[in-house]
């Protein structure tokens, strides 16, 4: 039972001051085992804050990140699942599901987590699942001005994943749930 927090596109301090307080009150240390971050934090202070929630932090580079050392893409294995991480500004058209599916096949992962559109999506195709956690601060994007803050928490338990989507709508935190599972441990592309 592994809890993985996926979030990104915070754009602190340029487009938002901080995470919403209701989100911060929920994100207490000790519960989450991994954090995967799609990028665009943008400053070190946010990096340090995320480190306090969970020491195992994986970040990829967004186009506004001040730390240039983050990689462009990252893959990791958690339990029986392979996860891939990429900010998404590299994939054109932005947010296009076909192109993201192509990236997922290239990375050969079960779950691809990308951002950049500041819009939560969860999409399934033959190669796996693409999840976009949206923007955790509700920062505006070039596509979308009116953004609800959101992030994603995945509960990986054996061959099953439950995805909890936390969104701040009209000042209230709403939680949604998506379940999916994998049939076998083999992961080779057909």
């Amino acid at each position: 039972m592994v809890l993985v927090l996926a979030l990104g596109d915070l754009h602190v301090p340029h487009r938002a001051a901080d995470l919403p307080p209701k989100f911060k009150s929920m994100l207490v240390p000790g519960k989450i085992q991994h954090i995967i971050c799609t990028g665009n934090l943008c400053i070190k202070e946010i990096h340090d804050y995320l480190k306090t929630i969970c020491p195992d932090l994986h970040i990829v580079r967004g186009e506004f990140d001040e730390d240039a050392r983050y990689p462009e893409t990252k893959t990791l294995t958690i339990g029986q699942f392979k996860l891939g991480l990429c900010h998404g500004h590299q994939v054109i058209p932005w947010g296009d599901l076909e192109s993201l599916a192509m990236l997922q096949r290239q990375l050969d992962v079960d779950i691809l987590v990308t951002g950049h559109t500041h819009q939560f999506t969860a999409y399934k195709h033959e190669g796996g699942v693409v999840i976009n956690p949206g923007s955790a601060t509700g920062a505006y994007s070039s596509i979308n001005q009116d953004v609800n803050p959101s992030f994603v928490l995945m509960d990986i338990d054996g061959l099953r994943v439950v995805v909890y989507v936390y969104e701040l709508i009209d000042g209230e935190v709403k939680v949604d749930k998506i379940d999916f599972k994998k049939t076998s441990t083999s992961n080779s592309a057909p």
Partner: protein, 452 residues
């Protein structure tokens, strides 16, 4: 030194026989015809100490995978005592054999005479496989005296334990998945070919992993994590010298898992005292005995049986684990005071020397003796014998326990009286190995004197 307060029998020359020469050991072996693996403890006596030959090194290499350990324990082969008063000192092998026969006869009756059983057990049970397990279950009230009711009782209790485990030990993820399956909303396959946006279902009942709500299963789970970690640490440290508990084998690991489950279920059912360090030590002998029962049925359900017996045993001592009750009439301090009074009654001189002259506060040693039921003072297998006597007490284990503690003090009185604070503390906190049957005998005698 004035000795008029010390009872005559304690000072008799019986306790001063010289150590038997080792050649006698072989003779003693030949004399033995006991079918069980019972062996006797020898009692070498020097003038001012009581100790026995330390357990042979084979004692701790009890083969753990086999369900029939020959419990060598603290025994080594006895020599003869050089006099015919062996029946007073400790049972001879012939008497032992007859006791075991008596016990087996008693156990095979349709309705077991509990009083008889208790009196047989109070002199400690033979080590032959299976007997101890059944007797303990009877003594703790887990099995009723009517043999015919056993199977139904066991079935009911075991299913109850299973129910507890299901209810309390399932992880929140598991609970979520069961809910999903039961609602028939069985979920997406990862690579099943179709393309679609994954649909979301709203959670209204606050049950998500970051929930801070009181009713949330996740919240309770995270709050229990500390307890779980504590139990885990303690179970891993239990009896590192005994392979049953701490070998690298999968058997030992499954034993540890079972013990952790029992302790966790107990902690969750008893929010008042939850888990306190030391409960693992009290569980260990019970679980060991049940798991090593040669009867397949008993051994496979050892976890459930041990849970209920553990609860029963602990019920008499619960109040010792609650800090608020420390100073109350039922608390640990009062038990320690009672022990102190007991010592004073039987051996005023010793008491005076210990508490007043050398200022050894009984709390320094008796705390561990009482709360852990002497599991830390003697070797594991000696403890099993002592627990036979403790569990057989019709008034509850505490009475016997205090009696045995008193006997422990009285048996080393010479060293205590000769010692100062440091040496006494050292002696009492590392109590020397003793002949257990002798200890129990002395404890019994003290008790019967009390009734006079």
């Amino acid at each position: 030194m004035v000795r008029k307060k010390v009872p005559e029998w304690l000072n008799s020359t019986m306790w001063s026989t010289p150590p038997p020469p080792s050649s006698l050991n072989d003779d003693a072996l030949l004399l033995r015809n006991s079918p069980s693996s019972t062996k006797m403890s020898s009692m070498k006596k020097e003038t001012d100490t009581i100790s026995v030959t330390p357990p042979p090194s084979t004692a701790s290499s009890v083969p753990s995978p086999s369900p029939r350990p020959r419990r060598n324990g603290s025994s080594s082969i006895s020599g003869e005592y050089g006099n015919s008063s062996s029946s007073v000192v400790a049972p001879s092998s012939a008497e032992d054999f007859s006791r075991q026969a008596h016990l087996s006869a008693e156990l095979s009756k349709k309705v077991i005479n509990m009083k008889e059983l208790r009196s047989l057990a109070s002199q400690s049970l033979p080590d032959s496989p299976g007997i101890r397990s059944t007797v303990w279950k009877l003594l703790l009230g887990y099995l009723p005296p009517e043999r015919s009711l056993w199977s139904s009782e066991l079935k009911q209790k075991r299913s109850q334990y299973k129910h507890y485990k299901d209810e309390l030990l399932t992880s929140p993820s598991e609970i979520t998945w069961r809910l999903v399956r039961s609602k028939g909303l069985d979920n997406y396959e990862l690579k099943s070919g179709s393309r679609c946006m994954l649909s979301r279902s709203r959670i209204t009942d606050e049950d998500h992993p970051l929930s801070l709500g009181k009713a949330s299963a996740w919240n309770t789970y995270f709050q229990d994590i500390e307890t779980i970690e504590q139990i885990d640490k303690d179970v891993k440290r239990t009896h590192p010298d005994i392979p049953f508990f701490s070998a690298e084998s999968s058997f030992a690991r499954s034993n540890q898992e079972s013990m952790k489950n029992i302790l966790l279920v107990f902690a969750k059912l008893n929010q008042g005292i939850r888990y306190v360090q030391g409960m693992n030590e009290i569980l260990a002998p019970i679980f060991y005995v049940f798991r090593n029962d040669p009867d397949e049925d008993s051994s496979s359900h050892a976890e459930a049986d041990a849970f209920f017996c553990f609860v029963e045993l602990l019920s008499g001592f619960r109040d010792f684990y609650c800090q608020q009750l420390d100073n109350s009439v039922v608390g640990i301090r009062s038990a320690i005071t009672r022990l102190s009074q007991l010592v004073r009654k039987h051996d005023e001189e010793l008491w005076r020397h210990l508490e007043i002259t050398t200022k050894v506060n009984p709390q320094f040693y008796a705390f561990r003796w009482i709360t852990l039921l002497l599991t830390q003072e003697f070797s594991f297998f000696d403890c099993l014998h002592i627990w036979d006597a403790l569990l057989s007490d019709p008034e509850g284990p505490l009475e016997s326990l205090l009696g045995i503690c008193c006997a422990m003090l009285v048996l080393v009185r010479r060293r205590l009286i000769a010692g100062d604070f440091t040496s006494n503390m050292k002696l009492l906190q590392h109590y020397p190995t003793t002949n257990i049957s002798h200890l129990l005998y002395v404890a019994n005698k003290l008790r019967s004197k009390m009734l006079v």
